[in-house]
Symmetry: C2
Subunit: 182 residues, 2 copies
DNA sequence: GTCTATACATAGATAGAC
DNA sequence: GTCTATCTATGTATAGAC
């Protein structure tokens, strides 16, 4: 899915990689739709674990940002989003996951801004979370395409901003991503 | 492509919509790869026209933002990006287009900030362009999935920000999008 | 330019033996 | 749980008649 896109994923290829016959895919997952859904839930669950661990970190914002910008799972996200176009089950599941992630982000931002005594009115947490999430996704997406116009400046800018509101500090305790980008 | 995703696009279906036989697709475009490339170039060219017209508008920033946030062509973008994963030609073309768009955005921002006598150092134009582009894409992508957590707040926030640096004013002269979202 | 005919690959899925 | 066998649909693409 990562290497060739979701359309190249077939029961035959999956079975072949596992050294088995394609029919077993249907035995375990019934349909390909079910398989994609199961895959999404697994990847999403891992990402959720990372996010909830980030909440407890000493530097939650830096940790959250690092999870977003280093995301190696989430470029599967673009495949899932494209795949979800006319698969109702998957679409709902992704929408639900997106909302959950958004709320975690916003909650952390809200808490940190409050702890630091910064006014939330000027920079609403929910807005910040969309700006940060949007930037990280765009950068990841473009990097995959092989372009990086303005990426370094933006990352530097955001990390400088995070230093200011949270204090400088490293991200911490991020669960490793099982898949490696090439 | 919009309704069912790129994987559902086939020479047979295209020809059927045109009331012709599938073989004609190959007569005109040789391969499906060539067809997708031609489609991308056409959509991208239109978007480029909109962007360059925006430069000449009285309120270039508002116009640029409206083009991004109302983009009805660009959700094809997510399909193309997924499709480009292992199609070298398309990948390069999309990367090129992304860079070009980024530069237009940054140039407009740079000019407007300068005209208003605002310091470019604190908010580098290229960074702003990524934040704006990232936000608009994220919002569009999530809207297509059927969720809108924080969208209204973010749009209001950004438009307020644009009002501040460019003065209030409507977007103007945007070429219509030929395709309609459902 | 548009058609018919056709080759050929690959896909998802089910039935039933072991 | 894993296999063989098989059905059926769909896809890309080419050759050649009109």
């Amino acid at each position: 899915m990562h290497e060739e896109g979701y359309a190249a994923v077939s029961s035959r290829k999956i079975a072949s990689k596992a050294g088995l016959k394609s029919q077993l895919v249907h035995y375990y997952f019934r349909s390909m739709d079910d398989l994609f859904l199961a895959l999404f839930q697994r990847v999403e669950e891992q990402q959720f674990q990372r996010l909830t661990q980030a909440i407890a970190a000493k530097t939650p914002l830096h940790t959250l940002w690092k999870i977003s910008i280093d995301a190696q799972g989430p470029w599967l996200n673009k495949e899932f989003i494209a795949l979800a176009t006319h698969r109702e089950h998957l679409r709902k599941e992704i929408a639900r996951a997106a909302e959950r992630t958004r709320r975690i982000y916003a909650a952390v931002l809200s808490r940190v801004l409050e702890e630091r005594g910064l006014e939330r009115g000027a920079w609403p947490p929910i807005v910040l979370s969309i700006l940060l999430d949007g930037a990280s996704r765009l950068i990841n997406s473009e990097a995959a395409l092989g372009t990086s116009e303005g990426h370094a400046e933006t990352i530097a800018f955001i990390e400088h901003y995070l230093d200011q509101i949270e204090g400088p500090g490293p991200a911490e305790g991020i669960m490793p991503y099982p898949l490696k980008p090439e």
